[in-house]
């Protein structure tokens, strides 16, 4: 059975289609693996009876003659997406035990396509973090090396897909929360254009940046699942009115004569040698496949972190104001009157990082500082986005490292917020611009820990980007490597 757990979504879909396996058998297999690898702490809520009921429903749909590449394939959801049948906590104590009255649009879309939910995945509290150490429900371990972080904020998603305890997982990216954990765990992590996936039912962190995406074992798998997951949603005010797409259409386009932009700013001081070597080797592989490398410049990209740490906390302070202990969520036991109840409930319910960001956000939005910080950051954000548009006149895709180093150890950055924030140095610029970007495994660095290659394309070019990644994955097998013991 272990080979089945190593299969891709594409392969599982074909096996289901051929009736070589049933959805119920797949659900049982992965539920068993989740249980066997509980020490990873990737899952926060597993309810086998609900999963098996969904699997039986998928098998019945097939029995009635329905087909589809995802019908009966298991998936797990990051605990940022609300679900009717599993708790939805954003890994925060303030939402402990919360049962949503509805499914997030992303969850509903995938259920409609017949995907079977395995449960909810751990993450940094409210998706704020780069190591998963900010979860109120404990650290998630990296299956490649249990002393290393799995990245964050989608650390449960990355760990689960790397350990093959889920064939695919949803994730969310605000400043790098899909790509950084994907790089740290050797999986394929993809963020589409901002506004393509619905934010309805995604517990809000920074609304102008929050983007749903996926952790998968291959670019092909991502293309298959994106087809069912992305689309216009009238319930999300910033959802883009674009028709549904077949994201597999460019998978076999190859990279002949493709111009790959290499931004010098992403290879400067701070980039560790082991990561640089693996990324350069990946670029050489692309040249062998017929692509050409073009030097480009993204001069304002280095301001991404300062800009992000104004905009994201500002939006977070506003979004998290809804937690007041009145309608849902934690309410303090002892208080003196309503204002005190709200203050105590928030102070007990939020962990250190959300509190820190709420304070930063409150400050930059407060009277006298709004123009100097918030408006200034929105202006520099445009300069960063403009840099990308200039670069895309010279190249078809941009390639860079995802992170400056391989996965760091637990506790290494936990006491220094700014050092932790710099983990997203190369991913934040693409988030601010809102362009599609992804991390694909491209080798191993120090201590045998995985390295990721970042690809970024222009708005709405997800299919092209996935095709570029697929070409690399046809020529290499980094994405097929499995950590020992899984």
């Amino acid at each position: 059975m272990s080979e089945l757990s190593h299969a891709t979504v594409a392969e599982l879909g074909r096996l289901l289609e051929a009736k070589d396996v049933s959805a119920v058998e797949l659900a049982q297999l992965f539920l068993k693996r989740i249980d066997a690898h509980k020490d990873l702490n990737a899952f926060l809520d597993v309810r086998p009876e609900v999963t098996l009921a969904q699997a039986r429903a998928a098998d019945e749909r097939r029995a009635r003659g329905e087909t589809g590449p995802l019908l009966g394939v298991p998936i797990a959801h990051k605990d940022i997406f609300v679900t009717r049948d599993w708790c939805s906590t954003a890994s925060s104590k303030i939402l402990k035990g919360y049962m949503s009255p509805f499914d997030a649009t992303v969850v509903a879309n995938l259920k409609e396509a017949g995907m079977v939910c395995l449960g909810k995945l751990n993450c940094d509290e409210f998706a704020m973090g780069s190591s998963n150490e900010n979860s109120a429900y404990g650290n998630v371990l990296n299956p490649w090396d249990k002393t290393a972080v799995p990245g964050g904020s989608s650390g449960g998603s990355s760990s689960a897909v790397a350990a093959r305890i889920a064939p695919v997982a949803t994730a969310t990216d605000t400043g790098g929360s899909i790509r950084e954990p994907a790089a740290f765990t050797g999986v394929t992590g993809t963020k589409p254009t901002y506004g393509r996936p619905s934010r309805w039912g995604m517990i809000a962190f920074a609304s102008s940046l929050d983007t749903a995406g996926l952790m998968t074992r291959s670019a092909e798998d991502c293309a298959l699942v994106f087809g069912a997951m992305l689309g216009f949603d009238p319930k999300d005010s910033t959802s883009l009115e674009r028709p549904r797409e077949d994201f597999t259409r460019s998978l076999n386009d190859g990279v002949k004569d493709l111009r790959i932009g290499v931004p010098e700013e992403f290879f400067g001081a701070g980039l560790q040698d082991d990561v640089a070597v693996a990324v350069r080797a990946a670029l050489t592989e692309y040249e062998k496949l017929g692509a050409q490398l073009v030097d480009i410049s993204l001069p304002n990209a280095e301001l991404g972190i300062p800009v992000y740490y104004v905009i994201a906390p500002a939006e977070a302070s506003s979004n998290l104001a809804r937690f007041d202990g009145v309608r849902y969520g934690h309410r303090a036991a002892d208080f003196a009157g309503l204002p005190d109840m709200i203050k105590k409930s928030r102070s007990e319910g939020f962990g250190a990082e959300p509190k820190r960001r709420i304070l930063v956000g409150t400050y930059v939005l407060s009277h006298g500082y709004y123009d100097a910080y918030f408006i200034k950051a929105m202006k520099v954000r445009r300069l960063i986005a403009d840099d990308f548009q200039r670069a895309f006149t010279q190249c078809d895709v941009i390639a860079s490292p995802v992170t400056t180093s391989v996965a760091f150890g637990f506790g290494e950055k936990a006491s220094d917020p700014v050092a932790m924030y710099l983990a997203d140095l190369y991913t934040v610029p693409g988030s601010l611009a809102g362009i599609p970007s992804m991390s694909i495994p491209c080798g191993f660095g120090k201590k045998g820990r995985p390295v990721g290659l970042q690809l970024m394309t222009n708005y709405f070019e997800e299919a092209k980007m996935l095709g570029i990644a697929h070409a690399y994955q046809q020529a290499t097998d980094w994405h097929r490597r499995v950590p020992e013991g899984y």
């Binding site: 009255p101 709420i358 930063v360 445009r382 809102g434």
Partner: protein, 94 residues
């Protein structure tokens, strides 16, 4: 540079309790973060339009019609305290 008084003021605005002992540590962390943020001040942004949405999205309007059925019970099932279909809070008017 922020001061301890700034930290107490924004904590109150954000309805976050910070003890006297936490104030100094929080102040130090916030000043580290703002020292990093200050880097963006060196760029000239005269005449640059602030960017709120990556693709300049406009706010859509929908027809003003009822689209949801009554789900009061569902929507109240997570309330910490309720009675007769109402959210309960401590008395605010004596």
């Amino acid at each position: 540079m922020l001061t301890a008084a700034d930290v107490r003021r924004i904590a109150h605005l954000a309805r976050i309790e910070i003890t006297a002992e936490q104030t100094q540590a929080t102040l130090a962390q916030l000043n580290d973060i703002f020292a990093m943020i200050e880097q963006m001040q060196r760029v000239n942004t005269d005449g640059v339009e602030p960017m709120a949405h990556p693709l300049g999205g406009r706010q859509r309007l929908r027809d003003d019609v009822v689209t949801e059925s009554d789900q009061r019970d569902e929507n109240m099932k997570n309330a910490p305290d309720q009675a007769d279909g109402l959210f309960l809070v401590p008395r605010v008017i004596e």
